[in-house]
């Protein structure tokens, strides 16, 4: 089993990018020098990104309308071209014709391909949920048979988990697999399967003996395998989405992927990475939309001036920029951690175990990524006014395409639940010390000083206390409801958002700390402070609502509000400045 040693990106001053334990950011601050930031990408990453962008410009943009019209042959041709460039091979081990590169490398490609409309879904379903089950769970034989073809785009893959009756509750699938001699016999219906219309390989989840959730590889053309009609969707209309129907489909015994009854490991492990990738794509999409929105705002004149000069337009653009900056910072920080965590691990199972360490992060980053993209596309449309609503302008399509992100790879409701669920599990398993810090936060007093560069010390102080406030609400909630916590979903979701805000704000600040005095440093500082102080405001509302509900929570409100103290920063002014930075850069001002 070979994935070669990767050379993880180095951080500042030769420090290696670190892999802190998942969730540890709530109680420890990572050294900024050990964080991966886009400005410190090595040549490979920069050139990978450039090739992916050129691919989109030369191959996707000229055929954009045709691809959005759903054209199987053209989609396949573009996948083959992407394969020829190596874009489908990034995460495939070298021995199977891949590059054996890491998540940072995959991310720069994902971000660039995000600008390709529906094709983005085709591409990601293939390289992510389509290919990765084999990368992490395939036997030597299975990997040798399929990965080389998937890496070149000769074959396209689909991932079949959802059923008409089971979406979020995916383990309740009804599809079944029965062993008959040397063959598995599969029966069932899979729903909403991306790439189904032109896929060659289907990764299908089914129950063995009624309740042993398992996973199988099914090739196109297998007798009994058929497809439903194309779904009529709101967006990503150029991505094939069909039912996959299995009627007594027979596959060789060797087509079991992983072990009988261990299918959930595949499903959840792959979804974890899928969530991360979705957030990476959202970052790429948001940057592109900021470029469009600011250009339109400068060009469009009303009341004799460009609408870009109006405060309410600047406010939108300023927030878009800060949110996107925080997302981009968080995404690459996490990619860096993922690569550092798997560095030197050769066994795919060990790699996946290391990656699963960040399950908390994947869940909230998926929520934040999809919601930031939806915010950005919604306000971009608003900036375009009536033209935003017209299909002759690019925003209308982007708006429809964006919406799916809050639904697939686990709905945002499910991912909010998972954020807290996984955090508590990690604490219970002793992988993370939360109990002590939460208790301390419940009794403690606000931090008054932090060591941080002077220019961002105010925001760092706010962040340090935001973490305490978050731990306090989480701790009180856990104590008040104990085993019944899962019935308090509203509370869980609020804690999840606060946890996510901590990570996002911290990632924004870590990056601006690194960029002090460097190119982009001033803009990074502006956007990081803007994001961090807005995060505190949001968290204050979330935590206050949570505490009002928790028994004895009301008494704790003053302590909470002391953590989340009013800091008197004029965010309106910061958003105006952020908009100016976007205008000056003719688009997203970093990265």
């Amino acid at each position: 089993m070979s994935t070669p040693d990767r050379n993880p990106q180095s951080g500042a001053a030769g420090a290696r990018v670190a892999a802190p334990t998942g969730g540890a950011f709530l109680t420890e601050r990572q050294d900024a020098n050990t964080v991966l930031i886009p400005e410190a990408f090595d040549d490979d990453l920069k050139m990978f990104a450039q090739t992916a962008r050129t691919f989109v410009q030369r191959e996707i943009v000229p055929d954009f309308a045709k691809l959005e019209g759903l054209d199987y042959a053209l989609s396949r041709a573009k996948m083959a071209t992407a394969g020829g460039l190596g874009l489908l091979a990034v995460e495939v081990p070298e021995v199977y014709g891949g590059l054996g590169a890491g998540k940072a490398a995959a991310s720069v490609v994902t971000e660039a391909v995000a600008a390709s409309g529906s094709f983005n879904v085709t591409f990601n379903a293939h390289v992510g949920i389509g290919t990765l089950p084999l990368v992490y769970f395939g036997t030597e034989e299975q990997r040798a048979r399929y990965l080389p073809r998937l890496a070149t785009g000769e074959w396209v893959a689909a991932y079949c988990l959802t059923e008409p009756g089971s979406g979020s509750d995916s383990l309740a699938a009804k599809a079944r697999a029965d062993l008959d001699g040397d063959e598995w016999v599969l029966n069932g219906t899979k729903m909403w399967i991306s790439n189904a219309g032109f896929a060659d390989l289907f990764t299908v989840f089914a129950q063995v003996d009624g309740d042993k959730f398992s996973c199988f590889l099914v090739e196109k053309g297998a007798p009994g395998l058929s497809l439903g009609a194309e779904e009529h969707k709101m967006g990503i209309k150029g991505s094939s989405t069909r039912q996959v129907i299995l009627e007594n489909v027979r596959v060789p015994k060797g087509n079991l992927l992983g072990e009988i009854g261990k299918g959930h490991r595949i499903a959840f492990g792959i979804l974890n990475i899928g969530r991360f990738k979705l957030a990476v794509g959202a970052s790429g999409g948001a940057k592109q939309l900021i470029g469009l929105a600011q250009a339109y705002a400068k060009e469009r004149r009303q009341f004799k001036v460009p609408i870009a000069t109006f405060g309410l337009i600047q406010e939108k653009i300023g927030r878009m920029a800060a949110d996107t900056y925080a997302l981009e910072s968080a995404v690459y920080r996490l990619a860096g951690s993922m690569d550092a965590a798997t560095d030197g691990k050769h066994d795919p199972a060990a790699q996946l175990a290391a990656l699963n360490d960040y399950a908390v992060e994947y869940s909230f980053i998926k929520v934040f990524g999809s919601e930031i993209l939806d915010y950005v596309v919604d306000e971009a449309l608003q900036i375009y006014g009536g033209y935003g609503f017209s299909a002759d302008y690019p925003i209308e399509l982007a708006y429809r395409n964006s919406r799916i992100n809050r639904i697939f790879e686990g709905t945002n409701e499910i991912n909010r639940e998972l954020t807290v669920d996984q955090l508590l599990k990690r604490a219970m398993r002793g992988e993370l010390d939360l109990l002590g810090p939460a208790q301390a936060a419940m009794l403690g007093r606000p931090v008054e000083t932090v060591t941080a560069p002077a220019a961002q010390a105010d925001a760092e102080l706010a962040l340090a206390n935001l973490k305490l406030g978050t731990l306090m609400v989480a701790g009180m909630g856990a104590m008040a409801y104990m085993q019944g916590l899962e019935r308090e979903q509203e509370l869980l979701a609020r804690v999840a958002d606060m946890v996510g805000l901590c990570y996002m704000a911290e990632s924004a600040l870590l990056r601006s700390e690194r960029l002090q005095g460097a190119r982009g440093g001033e803009v990074a500082l502006l956007l990081a402070r803007l994001y961090a102080f807005a995060a505190v405001d949001r968290a204050r509302d979330l935590g206050t609502e949570a505490l009002r509900r928790i028994p004895r929570g009301k008494e704790a409100l003053p302590r909470f509000q002391a953590y989340l103290a009013e800091r008197g920063v004029d965010l309106v002014e910061l958003r105006r400045q952020a908009a100016e930075a976007v205008y000056a850069a003719d688009g997203y001002p970093l990265g």
Partner: protein, 251 residues
């Protein structure tokens, strides 16, 4: 056989540059390999793919950041790279004298030079290099084939075309139309890391005193004319066309 392709790094076409204090300020600008130079690299790779045993050496003369452009050339398919590092501004003839020394030392038979630099618009390097080397030169080349120690080229003239043969060694300057350059594949980007990129010091080549000196630079900006064409649509359109053709001379 050996071919040297000259690589220059230039600001990205979309970069916004400013002039300050008589110098163009390149701070914050993204740099790319000059598109004209990509034609040269591509042509060399195609010759090799067409069966010529050709070693392709990418050569840059410029500041340390030029290394990125050389990496791109290596990722495209050049076999190795030579970087003569300098922050100095050099006139084309001085550049040609330095480059000629490397070309001679390499024993190259073929040199590709971009027809015209995308940034400073100079079209002098190719002819100057041919002059220094005493080699034949094909200007604005749109087609190239090799046989029996000579090159057959097509060359655009104003409104026409001519075909020439040149004995090797020769200098070929490129232009749009010569080929459609590829872009680097991910595997080739990774392989490029293992290729040799030799650093050389400009002083080694004793470039001598510059022949011309750069006094100041400015960027052309054109103010808006602020003309509003009035009248009904048909006559206004006609007037607009007249203005664009006769006054602005852009159509």
């Amino acid at each position: 056989m050996k071919a040297v392709t000259i690589i220059k790094q230039v600001p990205d076409a979309e970069a916004r540059v400013r002039a300050a204090g008589g110098r163009v300020d390149l701070g914050g600008v993204t740099f790319v390999i000059d598109g004209m130079d990509e034609y040269g690299v591509e042509e060399a790779i195609r010759l090799r793919e067409g069966g010529f045993e050709l070693e392709i050496v990418a050569l840059a003369l410029g500041p340390s950041r030029s290394e990125d452009a050389l990496r791109t050339a290596l990722a495209l398919g050049a076999d190795r790279a030579v970087h003569i590092e300098t922050d100095a501004w050099l006139d084309p003839l001085t550049q040609a004298r330095v480059i000629a020394k490397v070309v001679e030392a390499e024993g190259a038979q073929l040199v590709f030079v971009g027809g015209k630099q995308a940034d400073w618009d100079s079209a002098a390097l190719g002819p100057a290099l041919a002059e220094v080397l005493g080699w034949p030169h094909s200007d604005w080349t749109t087609a190239l084939s090799l046989s029996d120690g000579s090159a057959r080229v097509k060359h655009d003239t104003d409104g026409g075309q001519e075909e020439l043969t040149l004995p090797l060694p020769a200098v070929i300057t490129t232009q749009q139309g010569l080929n459609e350059p590829r872009y680097p594949t991910l595997p080739n980007i990774m392989k490029a890391k293992r290729k040799e990129l030799a650093k050389r010091d400009l002083a080694e080549f004793a470039p001598g005193a510059a022949l011309t000196e750069l006094v100041s630079e400015d960027i052309q900006t054109q103010g808006r004319r602020g003309v509003i064409v009035t009248g009904d649509a048909v006559s206004a359109a006609a007037e607009l066309v007249r203005l664009l053709r006769d006054e602005a001379k852009v159509i």
